[in-house]
């Protein structure tokens, strides 16, 4: 394992049991992801992209294999340990934005910080910085339904980066966006990796989106090709 690798995956498999048949979502995958990389994950539907992303992000567990992020074997953490780990180390961007409808943009971005020990003042500053970074400082009092899809996704990106996590994972973040909003969102993700040194892992179907990344890998039937 090279010291600059933030993610180390070895012989990782994920199988789903459905009645009599086993569905193999991931088959013996080994992969290294370097610090500061903008890795894009491509492949046909059902090839296991989301599954891999979820395991790296500590949302799902593999059937076997190792997934180490920095020095921590994510697969060995218990549930509450995993919750804390996610809060401190991973930012998530979903295809469907997943903002909390009853909370304003500001409150949505602040949400992960409520689990930290930061003072209210520090939280406010960090939320402001994050919203400024995605260009939505003036929308902080808006509810999600008062925002456009592109703005919602940028708020979601602000929420993903507000805790200053090492890893940002995004599952088809542009899937629900028009091309110009998609461009904006992708530029922000690119900026995060290029200028701030965050490691970004993004699942996408869109080759144009993948072009924003620094490296692209392909999955096919649960296995890495190329």
């Amino acid at each position: 394992m090279s010291p600059s690798n933030i993610v180390t995956i070895r012989e990782l498999s994920k199988e789903y049991r459905q009645g009599e048949i086993d569905v193999v979502a991931l088959n013996n995958i080994s992969l290294d992801i370097a610090q500061g990389e903008f890795l894009t994950l491509m492949g046909p539907s059902g090839s296991g992209k989301s599954t891999l992303l979820h395991i790296i992000a500590g949302i799902d567990r593999p059937t076997k294999g190792i997934c180490r992020v920095q020095d921590i074997d994510v697969t060995k953490l218990n549930e509450s340990g995993l919750a804390d780990w996610r809060n401190q180390n991973v930012g998530f961007v979903f295809q469907t934005f997943n903002l909390i409808p009853v909370l304003t943009a500001f409150e949505n971005v602040e949400l992960p910080l409520l689990l930290t020990r930061l003072s209210a003042k520090r939280r406010r500053e960090q939320v402001k910085t994050a919203l400024e970074l995605v260009g939505l400082a003036d929308r902080s009092k808006h509810l999600p339904r008062q925002l456009s899809g592109g703005q919602e996704q940028r708020v979601a990106i602000a929420r993903a980066l507000v805790t200053d996590p090492k890893l940002i994972v995004a599952d088809e973040p542009t899937g629900n966006l028009d091309s110009s909003s998609a461009q904006e969102a992708l530029s922000i993700l690119q900026l995060l990796s290029k200028q701030i040194g965050k490691t970004v892992i993004m699942v996408t179907h869109d080759p144009k989106a993948a072009a924003f990344g620094s490296r692209s890998i392909h999955l096919e039937k649960g296995e890495l090709t190329n």
Partner: protein, 387 residues
């Protein structure tokens, strides 16, 4: 750390259309609960807070109530000169020998008849009971067929207006004043002159004596003295203690109130549960998202329980608000001791409202418990994938 309160609060408000029926249901339960308990409180208050801590009540030994007691005039002649009994500025002993008579009188609007307690009092009778105030007209003149009626009874009985007359037994009595008993048992009585009362109703004997001792020590001595003197066959006790024993038990109403509230709350719990299942079910992915961000199961459960509690609390506040409209409303029942009409007021106390609100919150918590736990049980990944 927990989810912010505003998360729960806004989720209640934003779904008000779908939660409206549940809120109303809980409001109804709390309304019934608070109203019946306030009825019970009013009944207890109507006799329980009667009595002056300085006074001593004397009745015949063995009689549980004034109205069933008989005391001779010889007893009065003797006891009134006891040195334990206080004297007023004119050096008269502060004692009232009372006669209690039941009269069957017609209600207003030809609404049947009911027994009314007429109390004949001696000259000192009113000053011994300072909580009773004359609020209209004047006091009766001793020796005349005049009567002062309770203002609350005046609304319920025919010919109780000032200047009007009504027939009691063979006599005709003229209403010259209205009294207010301040929520005490005297609110259910009509007062007249004791001797006039005795002659009108052909009573040779008194019912009770009410006396004011010189001081605390004299009072204690008087209690002992009357108890010890075999000739009297009388029982003396503090007026307050006497009325405490007379307090009408409102237990059946309390019991009914509790029973109804619990039966209805079963329905309300299911309504709340249904609402919370629907509300939480529609938010499965949102809950998954919260957990992805790092919130624990218990934080999610807590936020959802608070949501259920808030929902119910709104219902509780509405129920209490409606019930409090009845506060002070006068109604009547039949006293079991005298079979006379006892008036009392619905008494919605802050304590009752507090109990109603707590009741509502418990309903809300019970209703949201299963939906919350079920939502939090779902693995993060499954919650996230739900649409």
């Amino acid at each position: 750390m927990a989810l912010p309160l505003r998360y729960s609060f806004r989720n209640v408000l934003i779904r008000w259309r779908s939660t409206f029926a549940t809120v109303l249901g809980i409001a109804l339960v709390v309304f019934v609960f608070v109203l019946l308990q306030s009825l019970a409180a009013g009944i207890e208050k109507s006799s329980g807070n009667t009595g002056d801590s300085r006074n001593i009540m004397i009745v015949r030994k063995g009689s549980t109530a004034e109205s069933a007691s008989l005391i001779s005039r010889e007893n009065l002649r003797e006891i009134q000169y006891f040195e334990e009994i206080a004297r007023n500025e004119r050096n008269e002993p502060v004692i009232s020998a009372d006669v209690l008579v039941l009269a069957n009188l017609p209600r207003v609007n030809n609404n049947g008849e009911a027994n009314v307690l007429l109390r004949g009092i001696s000259a000192r009778g009113a000053e011994l009971r300072p909580q009773v105030k004359l609020i209209a007209g004047r006091w009766f003149t001793p020796g005349k067929r005049e009567i002062v009626v309770s203002s609350r009874m005046a609304k319920r009985f025919a010919n109780f207006g000032l200047g009007q007359s009504f027939k009691a037994g063979t006599a005709s009595l003229t209403v010259v004043g209205w009294l207010d008993g301040g929520g005490s048992a005297f609110d259910s009585e009509c007062w007249m002159d004791a001797d006039e009362c005795r002659s009108l109703f052909e009573r040779d004997l008194y019912s009770s004596f009410l006396v004011r001792p010189v001081d605390e020590a004299a009072g204690a001595k008087l209690l002992e003295r009357i108890e010890a003197d075999r000739r009297f066959k009388l029982k003396a006790e503090k007026e307050e203690a006497y009325y405490q024993k007379q307090t009408m038990t409102a237990a059946p109403i309390k019991w009914l109130g509790g029973f109804l509230a619990i039966m209805m709350s079963v329905g309300a719990v299911f309504a709340a549960m249904n609402t919370m299942y629907a509300s939480i079910g529609a938010r499965t992915r949102e809950i998954g998202t919260l957990r992805v961000l790092g919130f624990r199961r218990r934080s999610v459960v807590a936020a959802l329980l608070i949501e259920g509690a808030l929902l119910a609390l709104i219902g509780g506040v509405v129920g209490c608000a409606i019930a409090s409209l009845w506060n002070g409303y006068t109604t009547a029942t039949m006293g079991f001791e005298t079979f006379s009409e006892i008036v009392f007021e619905f008494t919605v106390t802050p304590r009752l409202m507090g109990e109603g609100l707590i009741f509502a919150v418990i309903v809300g918590l019970m209703g949201s418990f299963l939906p919350s736990v079920r939502a939090s049980r779902l693995p993060v990944i499954d919650a996230l994938k739900s649409v």
